[in-house]
């Protein structure tokens, strides 16, 4: 299947090589192998595959979704996929031969530029795997820069991000300390206290944090900077249409997951790791980055640059082992940002504020209790009258994905549910959901 040689061509080639049959060639190329048995079902033709995939897909039930929690349903203009599905983007490799890859290279340069503009940061790489791994790279860089072994993370950091950090630094001499949460926000007093520890390399500021709460970024930054630690912002890129930018509160590194910028939720992947930093940390940048160069005629051209940091050159002395990143997701993101433009980015973020607050108002009206009072972006925590997991199970049967139950956050969170409403929700849908929730 998909082998392009005809049987006759194979024979011609074998003859040219002086072999009678393919087995002889394989024996010379890889002595001792060639006889594996497989317990696999019969191969499907494309028609059969289409039917099979259709059946599998139909086992996923269409749901009215109010879950966010790190993966957000947003509107993607049709032009985004129309562009990124073009064969010239889809089936190109990492742009090593720059002259024959100016399309991908310029698109990445525009991605880097747009991300820097959105984040107000100096430098962006060409992309990372996802928000969690981008955060891990930033933490690793901060620890190296500061040569200190303690990193403060907020209690209200995405649990998957916490777990990923733990895995990344499992065998490294790094201590993670959680700064506690007070009424849904980072407890600044606790933060101050922890910062008195002189081993602290950095604080990770999640904004909005996992509870949807918008943090007091200026105050936090001041406290962190005063203590001489680095500030790593971990943000929702779409929220930056209305929320303060990492650059404006002096973040040293700012990361996030760019799924929200024109990429599908897709059960969690592929998403898009965004990695940005201040200019002075450019040599800590993991992965690929595109820069401007000149061609022989002196014209502007785009190339992968600063490759000396990378594995194929430095091998075991490289900054990171990353090669493949999420280029196509980054392409989706830059097309999305270019379509929306400055106005659109503000508007879509504002719509998220509006819809989530409408949901909050209607839920309150229906008697649901809000857990926290702080400002939020597009999701927030409610207190259910019974374990949130039970409610989610019940609503799933009605075709509603109700939210993310927070019981793993321990005491006081047994009945807490994180709910989200983005610009994709109509007023009718929000009303319907609020009414059902009010019925519990």
């Amino acid at each position: 299947m998909f082998v392009s040689n005809s049987e006759e061509q194979k024979q011609e080639m074998l003859s040219f090589l002086g072999y009678k049959n393919i087995e002889e060639l394989i024996k010379d190329a890889a002595p001792g192998i060639g006889k594996a048995d497989f317990d696999l079902p019969a191969a499907l033709s494309e028609l059969e595959l289409q039917k099979h995939i259709g059946q599998l897909a139909s086992k996923n039930k269409k749901a009215l979704n109010f879950i966010g929690a790190g993966a957000y349903e947003h509107f993607t203009p049709a032009a985004v996929n129309a562009i990124s599905s073009r064969g010239e983007f889809l089936t190109a490799y990492t742009p090593y031969q720059a002259e024959a890859s100016q399309g991908t290279l310029q698109a990445i340069y525009e991605y880097q530029s747009s991300i820097c503009a959105l984040f107000d940061m100096d430098i962006s790489n060409a992309s990372h795997y996802d928000g969690a791994t981008a955060l891990a790279e930033a933490v690793g860089a901060a620890v190296k820069i500061k040569n200190k072994n303690t990193v403060l993370i907020p209690a209200a950091l995405h649990p998957h991000y916490k777990q990923t950090l733990k895995t990344y630094f499992k065998y490294a001499d790094i201590k993670f300390i959680e700064v506690s949460c007070e009424e849904g926000s980072t407890d600044i007093e606790d933060l101050k206290e922890q910062l008195e520890n002189t081993n602290v390399a950095a604080f990770v500021l999640a904004n909005p944090n996992f509870f949807g709460v918008v943090e007091e970024v200026d105050e936090i930054s001041e406290v962190v900077k005063e203590a001489g630690a680095l500030l790593i912002a971990c943000v929702n890129p779409l929220s930056l249409g209305v929320l303060k930018t990492p650059g404006s509160y002096d973040a040293d590194f700012a990361v996030g997951d760019g799924q929200v910028l024109g990429n599908s939720v897709y059960f969690g992947g592929p998403h898009l790791g965004i990695f940005t930093c201040k200019k002075e940390y450019v040599r800590s940048l993991p992965g690929r980055v595109v820069g401007i160069a000149k061609d022989k005629d002196g014209n502007r051209a785009f190339v992968l640059t600063l490759q000396a940091r990378e594995q194929h050159i430095r091998r075991e002395r490289s900054a990171s082992n990353i090669c493949s990143n999420q280029a196509l997701c980054a392409l989706n993101a830059v097309v999305y940002m270019t379509l929306l433009g400055p106005e659109g980015m503000v508007k879509v973020a504002s719509l998220n504020l509006e819809k989530s607050h409408k949901l909050k108002d209607l839920l309150s009206k229906e008697g649901c209790k809000l857990k926290f009072k702080q400002p939020f972006f597009n999701e927030f925590v409610i207190e259910c009258p019974k374990p949130a997991e039970e409610i989610c199970k019940e609503l799933a049967n009605q075709g509603i994905a109700a939210g993310y139950p927070l019981k793993e956050f321990g005491g006081g969170f047994e009945n807490a549910l994180l709910v989200c409403a983005t610009e994709t929700k109509t007023d009718e849908e929000i009303k319907k959901f609020a009414q059902i929730m009010g019925g519990f």
Binding site: Q112, S324, A327, A396
Partner: protein
């Protein structure tokens, strides 16, 4: 003319998309001190202008769909269009990772069966689908090895042995995982020198990382002996399966002695590379390592047939990224294995090997092969320095662009001077390879007779030869 950036085409007041009306401004919901002050500097263009901009950008790329792409070690093979259609299914793309399992049985079943299918194809006990790329998978594999030795309280095993024919990611990964890299030189035949291995293998060895076939394009002929040596020394054997298309259907890594293997699904399993990703670096392990795999993992209730995501056991290395893997890539991989059985899997490797040897033989009088042996999925050639004088491998690569071919991987592997690593893959046919060989031979003749044609290449691309060093001097990485 010079290509314009989107921002250079921007005109104030234009919009690329109509959004629904807003009833209230953001300031109704947020205190001013938490709000953004200035709009981001992004282009202002109409939808039409955006579509035209990016469509024309795409046309400045060579790609698999348009050109032969003999990039060694990258396995640029055809990406079937049916798989793109499958991955675009809204039921797959809109499923939320935290939705109740009831709502996502299709995705979960697919993940479960893919994990079983890859295990069968590779001869392993189980697979994790979580790693986002090959290097991410390697690192996952190395962590598993560490966890294994830790469980055995074998804490002195801090070294990873890596032959010089390994992928560059191998040493980088080992280093990233906090292990010491011990490099060993290959033998003259391009394979692991058993003596050299014996010398460094010992009680400190945590892992031996073999790239099979290696970056010389060769099968490690002593693989079974190596596996025995490694296991006898108490170490684990890691196999870099980035180029598994040379072995698939011919051998199961789990059966020839590998304990851990990562696959680049975006190479062997035909998912597109997307100009740099997303890929997927699934990792398979033998039974004794299954308990260390990252979680969660999909489990099936054999009675009800219901699929759920289960937390891993206490020995798991933990989560390597948020959520569960690059599912859209996995859907395509799943399609690929559904379209193959044992016989057609074997055809993949057979044709990959046949094509590479055919190229090597056709070019032998013009570009000598660095190693004598019959190669696997790729061949490593070099240039005839006496005849070529000033013409370098880089020049040949650039000249190929003028002939309508992407270039091979060049100057890699590092152990071969002026290397050209050529991988045709099994999805190219003799027709294309013959055209490519003719072009290479033409370039040989140009290099000998009219070298300036080669050293001044490319002439047919959107830009002339780029001075890559100029970019690194004062990096301009954004507008």
């Amino acid at each position: 003319p010079q290509s314009k950036l989107s921002i250079e085409k921007s005109t104030e007041g234009k919009k690329g998309v109509a959004l629904p009306e807003l009833c209230k401004e953001a300031s109704k919901f947020l205190p001013e001190n938490l709000m953004r002050k200035e709009k981001p500097v992004l282009p202002e263009m109409s939808e039409f202008e955006v579509v035209r901009h990016f469509t024309n950008l795409s046309r400045k790329n060579y790609s698999l769909d348009t050109h032969f792409y003999p990039l060694g070690s990258c396995t640029m093979k055809y990406n079937p269009r049916a798989y793109e259609a499958a991955a675009a299914e809204p039921s797959f793309s809109s499923a939320h990772p935290f939705a109740d399992a009831n709502l996502a049985q299709g995705t979960l079943e697919l993940m479960y069966n893919l994990e079983r299918g890859l295990s069968e194809i590779c001869g392993f006990h189980s697979f994790t689908l979580q790693p986002a790329a090959g290097a991410h998978g390697e690192w996952t594999g190395v962590l598993i090895a560490k966890a294994y030795h830790a469980k055995n309280n074998d804490l002195n095993r801090t070294e990873v042995i890596v032959p010089d024919t390994a992928h560059g990611t191998n040493p980088a990964t080992a280093n990233m995982a906090g292990l010491k890299v011990v490099n060993i030189k290959s033998g003259a035949d391009g394979c692991v020198d058993l003596e050299a291995l014996k010398e460094v293998l010992g009680p400190k060895t945590a892992l031996v990382m073999l790239t099979v076939p290696n970056t010389a394009g060769l099968f490690e002929k002593d693989i079974k002996e190596i596996a025995d040596m490694v296991h006898d020394a108490g170490s684990l054997l890691y196999m870099d399966g980035a180029n598994f298309n040379a072995l698939i259907g011919l051998a199961k890594p789990g059966e020839i002695g590998a304990d851990i293997l990562h696959l680049n699904l975006h190479k062997t399993f035909s998912t597109p590379h997307g100009g740099g990703g997303p890929g997927s670096g699934a990792v398979g392990v033998a039974e004794h390592l299954a308990e260390f795999l990252p979680g969660p993992i999909v489990v099936k209730n054999e009675k009800t047939g219901f699929f759920t995501l289960a937390c891993p056991g206490p020995l798991s290395i933990g989560r390597v990224k948020a959520f569960y893997g690059n599912i859209a890539v996995l859907v395509k991989t799943y399609c690929y294995i559904k379209q193959h059985d044992g016989d057609t899997l074997k055809e993949i490797a057979q044709n990959a090997i046949l094509n590479a040897n055919y190229i090597k033989e056709k070019l032998k009088d013009f570009y000598p092969s660095f190693f004598d042996s019959v190669c696997m999925h790729e061949c490593v050639l070099t240039i005839n320095k006496e005849k070529f004088k000033n013409v370098k491998t880089l020049d040949v690569a650039k000249r190929l662009l003028d002939y309508g071919f992407y270039a091979p991987t060049i100057y890699f592997p590092l152990i071969v001077p002026e290397a050209m690593m050529i991988e045709p893959t099994e999805t190219e046919s003799k027709n294309t390879i013959d055209r490519f060989a003719d072009a290479m031979i033409s370039i040989y003749e140009e290099a000998v007779k009219t070298p300036e044609l080669v050293t001044n290449a490319p002439q047919t691309q959107p830009v002339k030869r780029i001075d890559e060093v100029s970019a690194a001097r004062e990096p301009n990485l954004r507008w």
